[in-house]
Symmetry: C3
Subunit: 262 residues, 3 copies
């Protein structure tokens, strides 16, 4: 049994400061998810200060879900700072198919060396130049259909690509894992996908990218399974999920993770 829980304990022992430029819908949830998992979240975006704050951070995550032109400038400044300082960063190409602004921004960002690209199947297909892009923020394509696109995208960009859905698929272009943890209520709570991007960022700090991203996905899915045991619907699930993330131990993660080479 691979020791996926060790990645959680490593992350918690450093409590990395994860800076997130994300959308307005996700900010509060993402901060709570990161706190519950054991990381230290920061949210900021202003062009005037983002380089300074990025330089203080251990990891950076980018989601342009509600960004406008001003935010895009902050995003690029943050990513440039992260690159310059060797800070790992994660790209979440949320709903990339819905606008030209998103497609162009994503095209520039994937050339700037993200450590991980995390999206749903429709988003990854759009990045790979395939697929229509889903329905708003929701995927209309399956993870299996996106696996080849993910491998190609990983090979081309050098990023680890994580396609999340009922069963997640994570690849660096050569090796790949599938993660079968999770719960059907997870896509019924807004911003849980966006918030996962932050958790991936937290796990990256000082850990090998493919394994760290895989462990982050397993951690999230296992917490979802535990939350789903008692939840009466999406409202109580969201509450129980935070409790489950905080209560999850590395041992439990190692035991419950359903990760297989893919």
């Amino acid at each position: 049994m691979a020791d996926w829980g060790s990645h959680l304990s490593t992350m918690r022992s450093t409590a990395p400061l994860v800076l997130n430029i994300t959308n307005f819908v996700a900010m509060n949830v993402m901060a709570n998810v990161l706190l519950a998992t054991g990381a230290s979240p920061a949210m900021a975006h202003a062009e005037e200060e983002i380089a300074e704050i990025t330089a203080l951070s251990d990891a950076l995550t980018i989601n342009f879900g509600t960004a406008d032109a001003g935010w895009m400038r902050g995003i690029f400044r943050a990513v440039e700072t992260a690159r310059g300082q060797g800070i790992p960063w994660v790209l979440d190409p949320v709903a990339v198919g819905v606008s030209t602004l998103r497609k162009q921004t994503a095209a520039r960002l994937i050339e700037m060396g993200p450590a991980v690209i995390r999206g749903n199947a429709s988003e990854i297909l759009v990045l790979a130049g395939q697929g229509a892009g889903g329905k708003g923020v929701d995927a209309t394509d399956g993870v299996t259909e996106a696996a080849a696109a993910a491998r190609a995208l990983a090979s081309r960009t050098g990023a680890v690509v994580a396609v999340t859905g009922a069963v997640d698929y994570v690849t660096d272009g050569c090796r790949a894992f599938s993660v079968a943890n999770g719960h059907p209520l997870m896509p019924r709570v807004t911003a849980l996908g966006c918030s996962l991007t932050g958790v991936v960022g937290a796990f990256l700090v000082g850990q090998p990218t493919l394994e760290a991203a895989t462990a982050a996905l397993a951690c999230y899915g296992v917490a979802g399974e535990r939350a789903g045991k008692c939840a009466s619907g999406p409202g109580s699930f969201a509450v129980d999920f935070l409790d489950a993330l905080a209560a999850l131990t590395p041992d439990e993660l190692s035991q419950m993770a359903r990760v297989t080479p893919a």
Copy 2:
């Protein structure tokens, strides 16, 4: 017994993509409310992409609660796109009485053909040129006092006007319904009024406006009643309310709706 539940099942069968330009306080709640009810929410506002995203959507809702000049440009671009493509849209004139910016924006928007205007009594009175405008976002006038103003506003604009409060009043200027469902904790949870605007948008898609808006209000109020049965305060009410929206069946809505011609 009118079959109000049929409007819920029609909405769920299409899971309409509802684009919402709303305030920062409401965004996350509104997305969760729409997901729980059975619709597919989207939040975006940037002038650079809003026309493209509007064109992909089944309905649009507008709330200028925390908007500034840049957001207002996005709002008008979205509404113009919706008009051009026959996409129904809902106006939520939140706290319209508190600033000149809001009054002027609302005055322009009500001339642009909203399918529904949903507000509290004080907001509707301000739109109708009466009343001082409430206390911040909260109504200081009763729904009954606003009924005549609502009918006049509906007749003048062609919109269905929904005045929400302890007992809601919905009118197209000729016919009217009152909806007596709800729970006293609902105004104690922030953004539930704003989020209702999204649900009204979801119900509009492919359904007759007056009946759809009335059914949306009844659905919301019935879920509130169910949530209120077990809640210990506003925190647990907010959680239970999402669970109740997700669990509510069309049959239960038909049975519990307290809608009467008014």
Copy 3:
């Protein structure tokens, strides 16, 4: 036994309209916290309307957590309006140490007569010209280390300074109180510190500043203790905390407050 509960009943009897310019992470939580405690929250920031809305408000609170240049203009306009009209306002110098923009903004704001400055130990030390500023939004210094800095800052600015942490310290430069209420889960829920700033604003209206701020901190801490009795983690704590704020009576606050002259 000092009657700290009387400050809560005074606040509730007027249900003051508290206008908050705060960060995106905190807005929803802060509005719910204010509603649960018994105040009437408003959130707005746009330069175009903020003066009008400030003039309608009973108190103002400022937190520049996710502000950019445009928001900063709104902040200064609101503060100028509050000063001109004698409306008390509270400064929350969130993560002031992380950027030049924040340090400069805070330096200007503390000269503009805040009634209260509320921050964690690291933030107060930065304002006093000491300390490195913590880790993101989290304090890395203790309240005791910041007490002298708080007294000096209060004497220099005329503001009451509240340093919050495991045991809070509140001073006007001459007198001081410590508040020993609270629960270890409070810093594990994002935005509870930011939201406390709003509650301080609510208590200020028509009440002596040092006592009002102290009572607000005690109220918050006592509600935290009650919420902590049943919570299973940070998710359920956040829910129970809102219920506890709403359920707390003035008598219970008087009995449970652990406030001592310091």
